[in-house]
């Protein structure tokens, strides 16, 4: 077996046969670990066929290799300590990270339910705005009489205004606090143009002033 230029390769050269026992022995450590090239493996196997008495050497090398292999399996199966807390603490101590770790984002039930509630309220208000516009259900069938007080619960709190074609009106209990809403024309069906911006409990009775006295939500109607 020829050695490489550094004189430090303990294996059979490719395509060569093993000529001496020393060459055979020097090939065994790599042979038992499956680290020889195929040609070198064949050279070792060829030697063993010609020198069966050297199988003992192979078996001794294989036993040591099994010890190492089993040790590796045990080590891989062993429990590993969690290093992250120590690493994190050390990084905090030297100042490359904040001393307190950043808490992970919480996606809890409260957050989700609040989000859903907000989305549902927005959808309801938007839908109501649509219903109050053209083609909404309020433009056809007569409305059931609705008591202003029963809905708003603000009897006596409202202000009284003139109810005319171009009169400025104000909602009972409005939180707009005096800011007028304008009715757009004598036969207009949009009593309040800004309905989506008004809280739901204030808007509900404001349906259609022509549908009847009880349907009128304006204090001026009741007068």
């Amino acid at each position: 077996m020829r050695r490489d230029g550094d004189g430090n390769d303990g294996r059979a050269d490719e395509g060569q046969t093993i000529r001496t026992r020393e060459e055979f022995e020097s090939s065994l450590p790599l042979f038992v670990g499956g680290d020889l090239d195929p040609a070198d493996e064949r050279a070792v196997e060829g030697w063993l066929l010609q020198h069966p008495e050297d199988r003992e050497l192979l078996e001794a090398a294989a036993r040591a290799r099994v010890v190492l292999k089993e040790h590796g399996q045990r080590v891989r199966a062993a429990e590993v300590p969690d290093l992250w807390p120590g690493v994190r603490r050390a990084l905090g101590e030297v100042g490359v990270l904040p001393s307190e770790p950043v808490p992970p984002r919480q996606w809890n039930h409260v957050g989700w339910s609040r989000g859903f509630a907000a989305a549902a309220a927005l959808a309801l208000v938007t839908g109501l705005g649509f219903m109050m516009g053209d083609g909404g259900p309020t433009s056809g069938a007569p409305q059931q009489p609705t008591s202003l007080e029963s809905v708003a619960g603000t009897q006596g709190a409202g202000q009284v205004e003139a109810f005319g074609a171009d009169a400025e009106v104000e909602l009972v209990g409005s939180r707009r606090r005096g800011a007028p809403l304008r009715r757009p024309g004598p036969n207009g069906e949009h009593l309040i143009d800004e309905a989506p911006l008004v809280p739901l409990w204030q808007v509900l009775p404001v349906v259609d002033p022509a549908s009847g006295p009880a349907g009128s939500q304006l204090a001026s109607d009741r007068r």
Partner: protein
Amino acid sequence: MTGREDGAGDGAERARREAALADHALVRRAQGSDEEAFGELVQRHQGRAYRVARNLVPSDEDAQDIAQEAFLRVFRNLERFNFDHDFTTWLYRIVTNLCIDFLRKRRVAISVSRGREGEDGVESAIDLEDHSEPAPWEYAEATETAAEVHEVLASLAPHFQSVLTLREIEGLGCPEIAEIVGATHVTVRWRLHRGRKLFQEEWERRARMRQQGAANLIQSGGAAEGSVSAPTQQSEPRTDNERSRDEGTRS
């Protein structure tokens, strides 16, 4: 090799590449000061770092310290990471270098302390064993074997020890080991060859010691077990492990 083996090899290689890409993605995130990404990198690779360290240094605590220090160095040098290489190769290199440094310093410390005790100053590779550890025969059988394997590995020069650990414990191939230890492929094969040979010689020497110790024990009627074993250990001739230290240092 059969077609099935080819398929299994391809699958393993594909999984390795995917893992390497996932590591690179985590490194990029960590470079952007993403602490969570760096934490995930540590969690993914702490087993590798600890195992290698544990097989190269004498105690669990030392191994844990070295593995932790390796991750600190990774963090400090994240910006210099070369994406042409696997993250694991980089980590293994840092861990093995830290361990070899540790062993060298420890060797010097042991040598100095023994010199002060009036020893003859002759140091062999076997002297790296930590004699403060309990003797192997004090362990249960499985633990005893593990401890003895560890002692034999520790008796080798660090260069042989690291190559053997990366090959036998981590199952890495010679080309990857060469990249990790910064040596040529031929040198790694040589170290692997010498390391296995030295391990076998030392393991067999210890087996002979055990047999001889047991025989002496039977002859002496089971009395004074420790006093029988100790002289036997002294009288057993050394293998060429003593020469391995010089070889390991040169290579």
